[in-house]
Point group: C2
DNA sequence: CCTACCGATCGGTAGG
DNA sequence: CCTACCGATCGGTAGG
């Protein structure tokens, strides 16, 4: 009985979080009111609090859901028997795929994380720094093995992450390019700029 | 007499706009209250309205100041007698320089423009689309002249602009890399990924 | 440039 | 899940 109730709550909670991700992306976290969200869900504002604890909790769930996805993928990639260039390419492709398939949530995690409350804000920033550090290590490996140009690895990571992040502006207004072409061209541009 | 008064007003207005740009960057436009801004300027909130018409006007001034800078620079670059690669490199360097030297305002124009009110919002978006289109034309020229790889020019522009935009995350927390190295490495990465 | 203040809206609670 | 409602804060105005 508790299980069923938990399942039901979790399902409605998912709806709320999905609607919230869409609103947070278009309007921003602060500019989205709980009444906006309630309208989107189809209930009155106070009813939302049967499923979530606070507005901030929704943002926390979204940001860490995205962070967990990226962390898990990076772990998987690191354990593969690939060279540095292959690993970097794999990660870039994952970033692009996530941007295309989970656009709202990734955009919110990228642009609204600053409204996280402590201690979540600190945890999020720590995780992001750790993620970047592991990418830097990958770049350094490629440089050491004489496969990559000698450039500042931090700048390389910044360039890669920023480029894929910018996909947020590939709004669907450009119908004449598909996701596959986008991904291949961007990967080509970024990887060939890196390789010796 | 009117001139002196105008000069004084303009000077105080500049202070307000600079403080606002810093606050809008760190807290976001919506989350920055006029009382926050008044505190930063050193007056009471209602006094701000002797210098500016509304909170929205401040954002408008910031966004179009940045847009005008980029438009002017692009016009200058286009009229130079350079090849496509040189022009693109010049523009990337300008973007990076703007990001480093006018960080607050560029960041705000990049991230908070969605809170512009009509008709300014539409004008801003139109200008941005026109800017991107001119960059696309530059890339197409390079491809046609067999200097650039055959990739989707829109994706190339997206990659370039996104990468320099991401400099917003090069907060000053990385003291061990200077602006010049950052600029050269990023330009190298992006341009060599583009050239045949 | 300030004090005093306004109507609107915010996130959230009480109680059923 | 709803109605009724709360204290806090918002952008901005009146008036001097």
């Amino acid at each position: 009985m508790t299980k069923i109730k938990a399942a039901k709550n979790s399902s409605k909670k998912d709806v709320i979080i999905n609607k919230a991700a869409a609103l947070f992306r278009t309007k921003g976290f602060i500019a989205t009111s709980m009444r906006d969200l309630a309208d989107a869900v189809g209930v009155e504002a106070p009813s939302l609090y049967n499923h979530i604890g606070s507005k901030g909790e929704i943002l926390t769930v979204i940001c860490f859901k995205v962070a967990d996805s990226f962390n898990k993928q990076l772990e998987d990639t690191e354990s593969e028997n690939w060279n540095a260039a292959e690993k970097i390419e794999n990660i870039i492709r994952f970033h692009i795929t996530m941007m295309v398939n989970n656009f709202n949530e990734v955009f919110v995690a990228n642009n609204e994380w600053k409204y996280l409350e402590d201690p979540f804000l600190q945890t999020f920033l720590n995780q992001r720094r750790a993620y970047e550090k592991r990418l830097i290590t990958l770049i350094e490996t490629g440089i050491k093995k004489n496969k990559f140009k000698v450039i500042n690895p931090y700048v390389a990571v910044l360039t890669l992450l920023s480029a894929v992040r910018g996909l947020g502006f590939w709004q669907k207004n450009n119908k004449n390019i598909n996701a596959k072409e986008l991904e291949d061209d961007m990967v080509n541009h970024l990887i060939s700029g890196l390789i010796k």
